[in-house]
C-alpha cells in the first residue's frame, strides 16, 4: 500500500475542534476504528446518530467524515449522500466510507452517494489510516 508520507497530527489548534468525525451505528466497530485512528495520532470525534452528524458537520470545522454506509438521518437513508449533496455549502468536507457492505451494489451506491474513498472493514492493517492521510493531505 502506498504510504509516502508520515502521519500528521490533525488537531486544529486554532479552533480546538476535531476535524475528523467517525460515524458508525455499530458501537463495537466505532470503538475499534476510533482506537485505530487515535493510535495513529489523529484526534477523532465519534457519532452514531445521523442527524447529529449533519449538525456537527454543518456547524463545526469537520474536514473528513469517516462513515459506515447506511447510517440514516431524517433527511435520507444515507447520511453520506445527504452530506455530499450539500457539497456547495460544504466544499471542504471529504467523505470516506468505511463499511462492512462491500457488494458491487453497495460500492456503486457509495460512489453515487459521493464518497471520495471506500475502505472495506476488515481490510489489511493500516488501510484506513492511509486513506485518512491521503484525503487530508489532498485537501490541504
Amino acid at each position: 500500500m502506498t504510504t509516502p508520507r508520515s502521519v500528521p497530527d490533525t488537531r486544529d489548534a486554532t479552533s480546538g475542534q476535531y476535524p475528523l468525525l467517525l460515524v458508525d451505528d455499530d458501537s463495537e466497530s466505532l470503538s475499534a476504528s476510533s482506537r485505530m485512528l487515535r493510535g495513529a495520532g489523529y484526534s477523532v470525534a465519534t457519532e452514531s446518530a445521523g442527524d447529529r452528524v449533519l449538525r456537527l458537520v454543518r456547524t463545526t470545522g469537520t474536514r473528513l467524515v469517516i462513515s459506515e454506509l447506511y447510517v440514516a438521518c431524517s433527511e435520507g437513508r444515507c447520511v453520506v449522500a445527504v452530506l455530499m449533496a450539500d457539497r456547495m455549502r460544504l466544499p471542504r468536507v471529504s467523505v470516506l466510507v468505511h463499511t462492512r457492505y462491500a457488494t458491487s451494489t453497495d460500492v456503486n451506491w457509495a460512489l453515487a452517494a459521493g464518497a471520495d474513498a471506500i475502505v472495506r472493514k476488515g481490510a489489511r492493517p493500516g488501510s484506513l489510516v492511509i486513506e485518512v492521510m491521503r484525503l487530508l493531505e489532498a485537501a490541504a
Partner: protein, 84 residues
C-alpha cells in the same frame, strides 16, 4: 486464489468507460484496477467523469487526471491515486 479487487466485475463493467480499464502493481505489490466512472449523477459531482482506483480493500476516487492516464507508469499512477 487471489481475491477479487474491491469493485466486483459487474460494477466495473457498469461504470467503466468504453475505452476500458487498466491494472498495475504499486511498489508494495498491491494490485490496482483503474477505470473511469460516469459521475454525472453522483452526489456532489465535480465533473462528468472521475477515475476510480480499486484494490482488494480500498477504493479511491480521483477527479482531476490527464487524458492519457492509461499510458502512465505504475509509479505515476500511484502518485495520481494519491490526489483527489
Amino acid at each position: 486464489m487471489a481475491r477479487e479487487d474491491f469493485v466486483g466485475g459487474d460494477a466495473a463493467q457498469q461504470s467503466a468507460s468504453p475505452q476500458g480499464q487498466i491494472t498495475f502493481l504499486d511498489s508494495y505489490q498491491v494490485h490496482w484496477r483503474v477505470f473511469e466512472r460516469d459521475a454525472r449523477n453522483d452526489a456532489g459531482t465535480k465533473g462528468e467523469w472521475c477515475l476510480i482506483f480499486s484494490s482488494v480493500d480500498t477504493l479511491r476516487r480521483v477527479w482531476i487526471y490527464p487524458v492519457d492516464w492509461r499510458t502512465l507508469s505504475s509509479a505515476a499512477l500511484t502518485m495520481l491515486s494519491w490526489h483527489r
